[in-house]
C-alpha cells in the first residue's frame, strides 16, 4: 500500500481531488469549490512571497551589499534599499510616516507610466500604423490590399460605431444619419466578430484546461491501474 504513497501519487491524487473540487462548481457554489479556491490562493500567495523574498529582497538588495562592486552598492543598492524602506511606511502600521513612502510610489508609478507610454507609442502605435499602411502597398499581392481594405473598413466601422457626436442638420434630432448608421452597423458587426473570436479563444483555453485536467486524471488513473 505504501508504494502508492510516492510524491507523484500524492501530487496526482491531490490534483485529482482539487480538480473534482473545482469542477464541483458546475453544480453550484459549494464549500468544496471554496476549499479548492482558498487552497490555490493561499498556496499561490505563499509561493509568491517566497519568490519575492528570495529573488528580490535577498538576491537583489541584500546580497549586493556584500558584493565587490562599490559603485553598485552606493548608487543602486543603497538608494533602492532606502526607498524600499520608505515603501514600508505606506502600510497601515505606520500611518504617521505614510508620507515618506509617497515619493517612492510616485517614482514607481511615474517610471512605469513613462515606460508604458513610450513602449505603446514606439512598440504599438507606430508599428501598427506602418503595418496598416504597408498593406496598401501596390507592389504587394492584391489580396493584401483587400485585407488592408477589410481591416480599414473594420477599423473605421468600429470607430464609427462609437461615434455619438452628431453634426449637421441632424444635430437637433440627436440621431445619426443613415450612412453613419450603416457604417456603425458594420462596425458593430466587426465588434461582434471580434468578441466572438475572443470568446472562442477563451473557450478554447478553458476547454484545453479541461482536457488537460481530464487527461491528467486519466493518466493518474492509468498509473493506479495495474498494467
Amino acid at each position: 500500500m505504501l508504494a502508492f504513497l510516492t510524491p507523484d501519487f500524492i501530487i496526482g491524487l491531490l490534483s485529482l481531488l482539487f480538480t473534482i473540487l473545482i469542477l464541483s462548481y458546475a453544480v453550484g457554489d459549494n464549500p468544496a469549490f471554496r476549499l479548492a479556491i482558498h487552497a490555490f490562493i493561499g498556496i499561490a500567495a505563499g509561493y509568491v512571497a517566497a519568490i519575492v523574498l528570495l529573488d528580490v529582497i535577498e538576491n537583489k538588495m541584500i546580497l549586493p551589499l556584500f558584493g565587490d562592486d562599490v559603485n553598485e552598492k552606493i548608487f543602486v543598492v543603497v538608494p533602492a534599499l532606502i526607498l524600499g524602506m520608505f515603501l514600508l511606511t505606506k502600510t497601515k502600521l505606520t500611518p504617521r510616516f505614510e508620507w515618506m513612502g509617497r515619493p517612492v510610489v510616485a517614482f514607481l508609478v511615474g517610471t512605469g507610466a513613462a515606460a508604458a507610454v513610450a513602449g505603446a507609442i514606439m512598440g504599438t502605435m507606430y508599428p501598427q500604423l506602418i503595418s496598416s499602411v504597408d498593406m496598401f502597398d501596390p507592389s504587394k499581392d492584391p489580396i493584401y490590399i483587400l485585407r488592408g481594405l477589410f481591416i480599414l473598413l473594420g477599423t473605421v466601422a468600429t470607430l464609427a460605431y462609437f461615434q455619438f457626436t452628431v453634426f449637421g442638420k441632424k444635430a437637433a434630432t440627436g440621431k445619426r444619419g443613415i450612412v453613419f448608421d450603416i457604417i456603425a452597423l458594420v462596425g458593430q458587426i466587426f465588434i461582434a466578430i471580434t468578441l466572438g473570436t475572443l470568446f472562442a479563444g477563451v473557450f478554447s483555453a478553458a476547454l484545453s484546461a479541461l482536457v488537460d485536467r481530464i487527461e491528467s486524471i486519466i493518466l493518474f488513473l492509468e498509473h493506479l491501474l495495474p498494467k
Partner: protein, 1163 residues
C-alpha cells in the same frame, strides 16, 4: 376734474389734493386736525392725552357734538344774561358744556367706570376745584407775569372799573358795537382786514394803530376788571385754534400757559356749576371740575401747568418755552408750577425762553412772589435775538422799580437783550419804576431806544404811546403808551403799537383798557396791514363788552376761561382774581355762562355756548368763505398768543409796552391796587381782542376743526368759553390771517380806543390793514419754520393719512407713509419672449426632452428566466465532461489533426529551426499563470522540445512570480525521466548546464525595459551569482538583449505579450521575437504577428498540435491524447451554442405567436 383754488396763492389745485401743491396751504378743512408731527431730531414735547382730542375717533367727536343743540339753546340765555353785571356761579352752572364735553357728559352718565384713559388723564389734569373765585382773582395777580401783565393790566383796570364788565375787554366793547354790524369777526379769518377798513372811522390816533393792537389796548382797560377771570375762557378757546399756529408762534402763546393754569381753577368751578345744573350727566371728570375750588386765588399749580402743557402741545418746543417761562410767574409763589412750566417749555429756544423770562421778570415786579421763577427765566435772555431781546429789554428798567423785588433779575435779563428789544422792554420798566410795581409804566423810558426798531415795530410801541398820553381818568394804559409813542420812534411799528396796547393793560390798574387802545389805534396807522388787521380782529372782542356789560370777566368768568390756553387763562385769571368787585360789575357768573353759550353759537363749535347777545351777532353774520380756508401753515401757536388776556401771561416786554401807556395816569392806581397789572398788559389786550375774534370765528366755522381739538378745551373747564373774550378769540381765529400772525391778532379792531378808559369810547378796529399774507415782511417769512413749509409740501398728503384700524385708528399722520416718496409708477414692460434662433430652440427642446426623460420613471424590466440555469449548467457540464473524458479514455483519435499549419506557426517553426545548433542562445519568458498551464504547457512543449532538439542555450525569465514554477514544470515535461511520455523528449536538459532560470523580473514594463538594455543585471547574484557563468554560451550575452538569438515569450495574457513586444522588441533589434500564447490572447497578439513585430506565433492547443506536426513529433501529447477530447469538446460547445441559439429562437417564436394569438383572442 374739479379744481380747488388755493385761497392763499390763488392757484388751482385738483380737488383730490388736500394741500396746495404750490404753497402748501391746506385746501380742505378737515374734521380733525393732526397733531404736529415730530420731525427727526426733534424732541417730542410732553403732551397730554387731551391733545389727542383732535385725533379721536369720530364716534367720540360725534358724542361731543351731541349737545350742539343744547349749546345753541343755551346761547340765547347767555346772550341775555350779559346784561347782568354780576355773574353768578349758578348762572355759570347753567352754561352747558361744550359739545365735546357734553358728549363726554353723556358718557359719564352711562359709563363712569369705563372712561377711557385719555379721559382719565384729562380728568387728572384738572385742577382741584377752587373754593371761591374772588380769592383766586387776587392770586393770579401775584402770579401774573410781567410781560403778560401788560395784558392783565387790563384786569386791574377792570377791577377798578366795576361798571365795565371786563376791563381789558371793555375797551373792545365800544368799538365792537359798530363792528358787530359788520362781520368783522368773520373777516378776521379772511385775513381780510378789509372789514376793518370798512369800519367806521376812528380817531386819528387810532387810525394808525392796527386793529389788533387797538384790541390790545382795549384789553388794558379790562385788566383791573373782574372780567379777568374770563381770560381763561379766552385762552381755552384759543387752545384749539392754536393748533393751526406754527409752532414757533404757538410758543408765543405758550407763554401764557401758566396763566391759563391759574385761571383754570375758576373756570373749573364755573364749569362745575354748569355741569351740576344743566348737564348733570357729565362725565366724572367734568363733574369733578366744579368741585374744585373755583376761586382763582387758590389755583392748583399742577392743573395750570398741565393745561399749559396741553395747550402748548401744538407748539414747538422753543415756543413753548416762551410761554413756559411765564408759566411759573402767574402762579402763587411757593407753587411748584414754575418748575413744571420750565420743564414744559424746556425745549423752547433760548431766545424765546428768555423772552418769557422777561415777562417773568416783569411779573416779578408786579408780583414779587413770582420773582423766583422769573429769575430763572431771566437768565435765558442771553439767547434772544436782538429784536426780541430788545423787547425784553424794555423791562430791564423794571428792576429799577423800588417795589419790584427783582430788579437785578431783570437787569440780568436785559443785559443780553438786544438794544431794540431791551428798549422795548424798557418801556415797561420806567412804568414800573415810576408808577408802580407794574412794569408797564417804564415804556416811556425805553422810547429812546425805540429808534432802532423797524417801523412796524416802532409803530407797535407807538401805539402804546398815545395810549399812555391819553389822560384816562383811570390809569388806563393809553397814557403811558402815548409817551412811548414819542419815544418809540425807533421801534417797528407793530412793536411800538404792541407795546402801547399791552402797556396800559399791564401797568395801569385802570379797569378799562379801551382808552389806550383808542390811542393806539391812532398810532397804528404805521402798522403794516397785517398787523393792523390783527388789531382789527379784536374788534369783536370789544363788541362783547359793549353788548354785554357782563362781559367783564368776573371770577366766575375767569374760571370759565379755563378752556383757554393755559397761558391765556392764567393771565386772565390773574387779572380777574384781584378784582372781586369786578365780578360784581360784570356779572361774572351769568356773563360767563352767556359768553360760553355765545361762543358755542357763534363759533359753531358745539361745545361752546355763547350767552351773550353780542356773540349771537357774529353768529348771525354770514360765515365768510375765508374761515374754512386752510392756512398756508399752521399758526396755532400764534392763535394761542393772541388770546392771552391775563396779565400773568403777558410777556414782560409786552407788558412793559402796555405799562408805558397807563404809566402816567394809571401809575398810582395800577401800581398800588393791582400789582398784577404790570403783567400781561398786552396779552390782556390781546385777550380782549382775541376773545371776540374767537367767538366771531365760530359762526364761520373756520376754526371748527381747531375747536374740535378737545385737548385744551377739555383740560380747561368749559365755563371758560363763556367769556366774551373767548368769543373774540373765535373771531380772530376764524380770520384768514397768516397763521403765524393769527396769534398776534387777538383783537380784531382796537375798538376800545377809549383813551378815557371807557370801553364804549374805544374806536373800532384799525382800518386800512388789508395786507394779504403775501405782504409779510421778508424777515417774518424767513422766520417761518421750515417745517411748516416743507412739511406741507413734501409729505403733506402722506402725513395726513388717517389710520383706519388698530390702536392708532383715528389718528392722523401718526405713521408716515413713504408711498409717494418711492414714486409709484407703472412698471416698465419688458418682453417676455426671448429671441432665440431655431437652433437654440431645438437644442433647448432637446435638453428639455432629455431632462424630462430622465425624470420619467421607467418600468423595471425583470429578466425573464427562460430556462433553469442550474439544470442547463448541469447539462452543459455533463456534456463537456463526457465529450472530453470519453475521447481521452477511449483514445479513438476520431478527430484528425489540423492538416494545414498557420503562417505564424510556420514562421515560428522556421525561425527556431534556423537557430544555430548547439550554440543558439534563446531567451524564454514564462509569463503565464498556473491556471493556463494545461494549455500553455501543451502549446509550448513542442516549441521547447524543438529548442532542446536544437540544443539551444536557454535563459528563463518571468515577470510573474510563478514564472519560475512554470519553467520548472515545462522542463520537467520535457524531461524524459519525469515525462510520462518520455519518448517525446529526445534528450535531457539540465538546469545550469543547458539553461539558466533568471527568475522573477520585477517592474513589469520598466523592468522589462531595463532587462532588455542590460540582461545581465538580472541573475548575477541569483544562485550564487554564477548563472550566466554557469552556461558557457550565455557568458557572451553581455549587456544587450540583442545578443540572444531569439526571444520566445510564453504568455496567456495579451497585455503581457504586448508589453514584451513594446519594451523588448526594439532591444532585440533584428533578433526574432516569438510568442506562444494562449488561445484567448491570440487575437490580440495576432496584429503584432501580422505587422512583423512578432515573427512567429503559436497559440493554444491548436497551435501546439500544429507545431507538433511541424516538428513531426510522433505521438505528440497534444495530438495524441488531447486532440480528441479537445475536438469533442469544441464540437460539443458549438453544438450547445447552436442548439442554444435555436432554442432561444424557438422560444421567441413561440412567445410571439402566443402574443399574436392572445391579441387575436382579445380582438
Amino acid at each position: 376734474m374739479a379744481s380747488i383754488t388755493c385761497q392763499t396763492c390763488n392757484m388751482p389745485n385738483p380737488d383730490t389734493l388736500e394741500i396746495c401743491q404750490y404753497c402748501g396751504t391746506p385746501l380742505k378743512n378737515r374734521g380733525t386736525e393732526p397733531l404736529p408731527t415730530i420731525r427727526p431730531g426733534e424732541v417730542p414735547v410732553k403732551q397730554q392725552t387731551s391733545e389727542l382730542e383732535s385725533t379721536l375717533p369720530s364716534w367720540l367727536r360725534e358724542m361731543r357734538k351731541g349737545d350742539g343743540p343744547d349749546a345753541a339753546s343755551s346761547a340765547p340765555k347767555a346772550s341775555s344774561e350779559p346784561s347782568s353785571s354780576k355773574p353768578t356761579i349758578p348762572q355759570r352752572k347753567d352754561v352747558a358744556p361744550s359739545d365735546f364735553l357734553a358728549g363726554l357728559s353723556n358718557l359719564s352718565d352711562d359709563d363712569d367706570d369705563a372712561e377711557p384713559d385719555w379721559l382719565s388723564n384729562i380728568k387728572g389734569s384738572m385742577p382741584p376745584v377752587s373754593s371761591s373765585a374772588q380769592p383766586a382773582a387776587s392770586a393770579p395777580e401775584d402770579e401774573s407775569v410781567d410781560w403778560l401783565g401788560g395784558l392783565t393790566g387790563a384786569s386791574s383796570t377792570s377791577a377798578q372799573l366795576p361798571d365795565q364788565p371786563v376791563d381789558w375787554l371793555a375797551g373792545f366793547q365800544e368799538p365792537t358795537s359798530p363792528q358787530t354790524a359788520q362781520p368783522s369777526q368773520p373777516s378776521a379769518m379772511d385775513w381780510g382786514f378789509d372789514d376793518q377798513a370798512d369800519e367806521p372811522a376812528q380817531p386819528a390816533a387810532q387810525e394808525e394803530t392796527p386793529d389788533w393792537l387797538s384790541a390790545l389796548k382795549a384789553q388794558d382797560t379790562s385788566l383791573n376788571t373782574p372780567a379777568q377771570p374770563k381770560a381763561p375762557d379766552f385762552s381755552s378757546e384759543s387752545e384749539p385754534s392754536m393748533g393751526d399756529f406754527p409752532d414757533w408762534l404757538s410758543g408765543l402763546g405758550g407763554e401764557s400757559a401758566p396763566g391759563a393754569g391759574i385761571q383754570q381753577t375758576p373756570t373749573s368751578s364755573v364749569f362745575d356749576d354748569d355741569t351740576s345744573a344743566d348737564s348733570g350727566g357729565l362725565h366724572d371728570w367734568l363733574s369733578g371740575m366744579p368741585e374744585s375750588p373755583a376761586s382763582p386765588v387758590t389755583p392748583t399749580p399742577a392743573a395750570p401747568i398741565e393745561d399749559s402743557a396741553s395747550g402748548l402741545g401744538d407748539f414747538s418746543d422753543w415756543l413753548n418755552n416762551l410761554g413756559g417761562d411765564k408759566a411759573p410767574e402767574p402762579q402763587i409763589p411757593g407753587s411748584s408750577t414754575p418748575t413744571q412750566n420750565a420743564d414744559v417749555f424746556g425745549d423752547s429756544p433760548d431766545w424765546l425762553s428768555s423772552l418769557g423770562s422777561d415777562s417773568a421778570s416783569t411779573a416779578s415786579t408786579a408780583a414779587p412772589s413770582s420773582a423766583a421763577p422769573v429769575a430763572d427765566d431771566s437768565e435765558s435772555m442771553g439767547d434772544f435775538p436782538d429784536w426780541l431781546n430788545n423787547l425784553g429789554g424794555e423791562k430791564s428798567p423794571e428792576p429799577q422799580i423800588p417795589a419790584s423785588p427783582t430788579p437785578t433779575q431783570n437787569a440780568n435779563v436785559f443785559d443780553d437783550s438786544p438794544d431794540w428789544l431791551s428798549s422795548l422792554g424798557g418801556e415797561s420798566t420806567p412804568s414800573a419804576s415810576t408808577v408802580a410795581p407794574s412794569s408797564a409804566v417804564p415804556v416811556a423810558d425805553d422810547a429812546g431806544d425805540m429808534g432802532d426798531f423797524p417801523d412796524w415795530l416802532s409803530n407797535l410801541g407807538g401805539d402804546s404811546t398815545p395810549a399812555a398820553s391819553a389822560p384816562a381818568p383811570t390809569p388806563t394804559p393809553a397814557a403811558p403808551v402815548a409817551q412811548d409813542a414819542g419815544d418809540m420812534g425807533d421801534f417797528p411799528d407793530w412793536l411800538s403799537n404792541l407795546g402801547s396796547d399791552s402797556t396800559p393793560a399791564a401797568s395801569t390798574p385802570a379797569p378799562m383798557s379801551a382808552a389806550p387802545v383808542a390811542q393806539d389805534s391812532g398810532d397804528m396807522g404805521d402798522f403794516p396791514d397785517w398787523l393792523s388787521n390783527l388789531g382789527s380782529e379784536g374788534t369783536p372782542a370789544m363788541q362783547q363788552p359793549q353788548a354785554s356789560p357782563a362781559s367783564p370777566v368776573t371770577p366766575a368768568d375767569s374760571s370759565a376761561g379755563a378752556d383757554f390756553p393755559d397761558w391765556l387763562s392764567s393771565g386772565s385769571a390773574e387779572s380777574g382774581m384781584p378784582t372781586p368787585p369786578a365780578a360784581e360789575e360784570t356779572s361774572p357768573a351769568a356773563g360767563g355762562a352767556s359768553l360760553f353759550d355765545g361762543l358755542m353759537i357763534d363759533s359753531n363749535i358745539g361745545w361752546l355756548d355763547t350767552p351773550s347777545e353780542e356773540k349771537e351777532k357774529p353768529a348771525a353774520e354770514p360765515p365768510k368763505p375765508s374761515i374754512p380756508m386752510q392756512k398756508a401753515f399752521r399758526t396755532g401757536s400764534l392763535e394761542g398768543l393772541s388770546p392771552p388776556q391775563s396779565s400773568d401771561e403777558v410777556p414782560d416786554w409786552l407788558a412793559n409796552l402796555n405799562a408805558t401807556a397807563p404809566k402816567k395816569p394809571q401809575e398810582p392806581v395800577g401800581a398800588t391796587d393791582f400789582p398784577s397789572d404790570d403783567a400781561f398788559d398786552w396779552l390782556s389786550a390781546d385777550k380782549g381782542g382775541a376773545t371776540p375774534s374767537m367767538t366771531d370765528a365760530a359762526p364761520t366755522g373756520g376754526f371748527a376743526p381747531e375747536t374740535a381739538k378737545p385737548t385744551p378745551s377739555i383740560e380747561s373747564s368749559p365755563s371758560a368759553f363763556l367769556t366774551d373774550s373767548s368769543q373774540n378769540l373765535d373771531s380772530i381765529f376764524s380770520m384768514e390771517m397768516p397763521d403765524w400772525l393769527s396769534g398776534f391778532t387777538p383783537s380784531e379792531t382796537p375798538a376800545p380806543s377809549n383813551v378815557t378808559s371807557t370801553p364804549t369810547e374805544q374806536p373800532p378796529a384799525l382800518t386800512g390793514d388789508n395786507l394779504s399774507p403775501a405782504d409779510l415782511p421778508s424777515w417774518v417769512q424767513a422766520m417761518r419754520p421750515i417745517e411748516s413749509v416743507v412739511g406741507g409740501t413734501q409729505g403733506g398728503l402722506d402725513d395726513q393719512v388717517v389710520e383706519q384700524e388698530g390702536p392708532l385708528a383715528g389718528f392722523r399722520s401718526v405713521l408716515p407713509t413713504q408711498a409717494s416718496a418711492l414714486g409709484v409708477r407703472k412698471p416698465k414692460s419688458y418682453a417676455i419672449k426671448l429671441q432665440v434662433d431655431p437652433t437654440q430652440m431645438t437644442q433647448a427642446t432637446l435638453l428639455e426632452n432629455l431632462i424630462a426623460s430622465e425624470a420619467e420613471s421607467r418600468p423595471v424590466v425583470t429578466a425573464k428566466q427562460v430556462v433553469n440555469i442550474r439544470g442547463l449548467r448541469w447539462i452543459i457540464a455533463v456534456i463537456l465532461l463526457l465529450v472530453t473524458l470519453v475521447p481521452g479514455v477511449i483514445g479513438l483519435h476520431f478527430f484528425p489533426l489540423p492538416a494545414t499549419s498557420s503562417e505564424q506557426a510556420t514562421s515560428f517553426y522556421t525561425i527556431v529551426n534556423n537557430l544555430p545548433d548547439d550554440s543558439a542562445k534563446v531567451l524564454v519568458v514564462f509569463d503565464y499563470q498556473p491556471g493556463y498551464a494545461g494549455e500553455m504547457e501543451h502549446a509550448a512543449a513542442p516549441v521547447m522540445r524543438h529548442l532542446i532538439n536544437k540544443n539551444a542555450r536557454l535563459a528563463f525569465v518571468s515577470t510573474l512570480p510563478t514564472g519560475v514554477l512554470m519553467s520548472d514544470r515545462i522542463m520537467d515535461l520535457v524531461d524524459p525521466d519525469t515525462n510520462p511520455a518520455p519518448e517525446i523528449v529526445e534528450k535531457y536538459y539540465k538546469k545550469g548546464e543547458h539553461y539558466i532560470d533568471l527568475g522573477y523580473l520585477p517592474g513589469d514594463a520598466a523592468g522589462i525595459q531595463v532587462f532588455a538594455k542590460n540582461p545581465k543585471m538580472l541573475g548575477n547574484d541569483w544562485q550564487d551569482g554564477k548563472l550566466w557563468e554557469d552556461v558557457e554560451d550565455l557568458k557572451q550575452i553581455g549587456d544587450s538583449l540583442a545578443n540572444f538569438d531569439a526571444a520566445i515569450v510564453l504568455t496567456d495574457n495579451p497585455d503581457t505579450g504586448r508589453m514584451w513586444i513594446e519594451q523588448a522588441g526594439l532591444a532585440l533589434a533584428t533578433k526574432p521575437m516569438l510568442m506562444v500564447v494562449s488561445a484567448q490572447a491570440a487575437p490580440m497578439i495576432f496584429p503584432y504577428a501580422e505587422s512583423g513585430q512578432v515573427k512567429g506565433l503559436v497559440s493554444g492547443l491548436v497551435g501546439g498540435a500544429r507545431y507538433e506536426q511541424l516538428i513531426q513529433q510522433p505521438k505528440g501529447r497534444v495530438s495524441y491524447y488531447y486532440w480528441d477530447s479537445y475536438g469533442a469538446g469544441m464540437i460539443a460547445a458549438e453544438l450547445v451554442i447552436v442548439f442554444g441559439g435555436l432554442w432561444a429562437l424557438i422560444q421567441r417564436l413561440r412567445t410571439r405567436r402566443a402574443e399574436q394569438n392572445r391579441d387575436e383572442d382579445e380582438e
